[in-house]
């Protein structure tokens, strides 16, 4: 692929990589990005998603996030930054919360994946989902699936009892709308039910 210097794709990549940085000195023409001598590679994997085992053919480059959203049509898990910096893509793999944007689907052959779509039981919201509704713990809702998945997994982790401990444990989920106080309240209400 031949990119002409500064285009939308390279701008978006630069913004993601540079964070708060700089003006645009020293930009050279990006080198051609596809080396034609390595062919695309696909593999067959089995994923157990929300209790249902599925056989999929995936490109080795497909992240778990893109596989869930694009190939399986499960758009509940969100793509916020695609680089592990926001937590919107949080899912559970074998019970642990991870960023699905930073792992390839081919690495998870045989694994159990839980997404936001898998929390409700026969139409009944999970306790954490219900708490988020009751405590108004979201505004635009984009970070919310990741927040709920993160908070649900947190209940199984050795996290301390103070508010600061909880904030720290949830620090991998960013909310641009600032719903943090209500997210904290929602999680605390579920936690106190558990103990």
């Amino acid at each position: 692929m031949d990119s002409p210097g500064w285009n939308r794709r390279s701008f978006l990549k630069a913004a993601a990589a540079a964070g708060a940085a700089a003006a645009m000195p020293d930009i050279a023409v990006p080198e051609p990005q596809v080396k034609p001598d390595v062919p695309a590679s696909s593999q067959s994997i089995r994923l157990k998603v929300n209790g249902t085992s599925r056989q999929l053919n995936v490109d080795t480059r497909a992240t778990l996030l893109d596989t869930l959203r694009e190939q399986m049509g499960m758009a509940g898990t969100k793509k916020g930054c695609d680089h592990g910096q926001c937590g919107a893509c949080t899912v559970h793999v074998n019970g642990r919360r991870i960023n699905s944007c930073l792992t390839f689907a081919v690495m998870h052959d045989g694994d159990e994946v839980t997404t936001i779509e898998g929390l409700a039981d026969a139409g009944q919201l999970s306790p954490m989902q219900a708490a988020f509704v009751e405590h108004d713990a979201f505004q635009c809702g984009y970070c919310t699936p990741g927040q709920i998945m993160s908070a649900t997994a947190l209940l199984r982790e050795p996290v301390g009892n103070t508010d600061d401990d909880l904030r720290e444990a949830m620090s991998g989920n960013i909310c641009r709308c600032g719903a943090y106080p209500n997210i904290l309240a929602a999680i605390k209400s579920v936690r106190s039910q558990h103990s």
Partner: protein
């Protein structure tokens, strides 16, 4: 992203045998997948080592702690032996990344993570000696706020971002590596390389080699240890300056000390100068400040990162005070 072929290994032998031209091992993937998306890393083949049986934390008969290379960062944070005997390691790991990333990241991968330098991470910038040897360094005259004040060269001033590695330097860790030439052990202090004229070579790990374990020797200073991390946000961000310290105290006399710095150097930075300044003296705020001055004496500021020199001193003093009061 470049296409790549993918295989999975279930043993060290398999992992080494599966390597081909332009192969990389993939464990947690938190560095590698990130950089592959940016076309900074372009492997033609990945060997998935997640199934390797290197995921235990064991206390050995001589009292040292052996950590498998595949132990997840989160498991290392919460290990009872680590919290009790090597607390600085648990604190450093907990200060890093996020819970999700810690669940994915591994001991070996954490050591091998790569710099957050904006110019390295964006191939649109032509001048990066680490990514393209000989092309120059855009950070030297560019926006270098997050870059190094220690250990840099005219070729590269990129900071090493790991918290875990800084704590391991303060604990005299030993890295165990296995490859075609057999097994070898490298002191953590020698594991990461200064950029010098070859910033593209970051560690002593050679092509065809695999990190298998990290061991922490039993010591008199490890249990009295602390980590302080200073950054723009309170969480989920890399260090601007950090300090890992460990003290062997007899009353108020410092029998021995270990001091390491993060966020300010091109590799996890052990400060022998500061350790010497403290050894044999009394634990006091004054002594700690003198040690901090010694630690940063050779620091060289760039245009935008001069604040790191004072910040690093403050991190050291705070960490020393915390450790002394344990």
């Amino acid at each position: 992203m470049q296409p790549f072929s993918f295989t999975q290994a279930r043993s060290e032998d398999e992992a080494l045998a599966q390597l081909r031209q332009n192969s990389r091992f993939i464990a947690g993937g938190t560095t590698l997948v990130d950089l592959m998306k940016l076309d900074v890393e372009t492997p033609a083949h990945l060997v998935d080592i997640n199934a390797l049986p290197l995921n235990k934390i064991e206390t050995l008969p001589d009292g040292s702690l052996r950590i498998g290379a595949m132990v997840r960062n989160s498991d290392l944070v919460h290990d009872a032996a680590v919290i009790k005997n090597f607390p600085v390691l648990s604190q450093a790991l907990l200060a890093g990344a996020s819970a999700q990333l810690r669940n994915m990241a591994t001991t070996g991968g954490n050591l091998l993570q790569r710099t957050r330098c904006y110019y390295f991470r964006d191939p649109a910038y032509a001048a990066c000696n680490k990514r393209r040897p000989g092309s120059g360094c855009a950070a030297l005259e560019g926006f270098n706020r997050i870059h190094a004040v220690l250990g840099g060269s005219e070729h590269c001033v990129a900071t090493h971002p790991s918290d875990m590695a800084v704590a391991m330097v303060a604990l005299d860790a030993v890295v165990h590596i296995r490859g075609p030439k057999g097994e070898r052990q490298v002191k953590i202090e020698d594991f990461h390389k200064l950029p010098g004229t070859t910033p593209q070579i970051e560690t002593v790990v050679e092509p065809g080699e695999l990190i298998t374990y990290v061991t922490l020797p039993k010591s008199a200073f490890a249990a009295r240890s602390a980590y302080v991390k200073l950054r723009d946000r309170a969480s989920y961000e890399f260090a601007l300056a950090s300090a890992a310290v460990a003290l062997d105290l007899n009353g108020k006399t410092i029998r021995s000390a270990r001091l390491a710095l993060g966020g300010v150097a091109t590799k996890p930075w052990r400060s022998h100068e500061a350790e010497q300044a403290l050894t044999g003296g009394q634990a006091s705020d004054q002594a700690f400040r003198a040690a901090a001055e010694a630690a940063m004496k050779s620091a060289r500021p760039l245009r935008y990162n001069g604040f790191k020199i004072e910040l690093a001193k403050m991190a050291l003093v705070r960490a020393l005070n915390e450790a002394a009061q344990l």
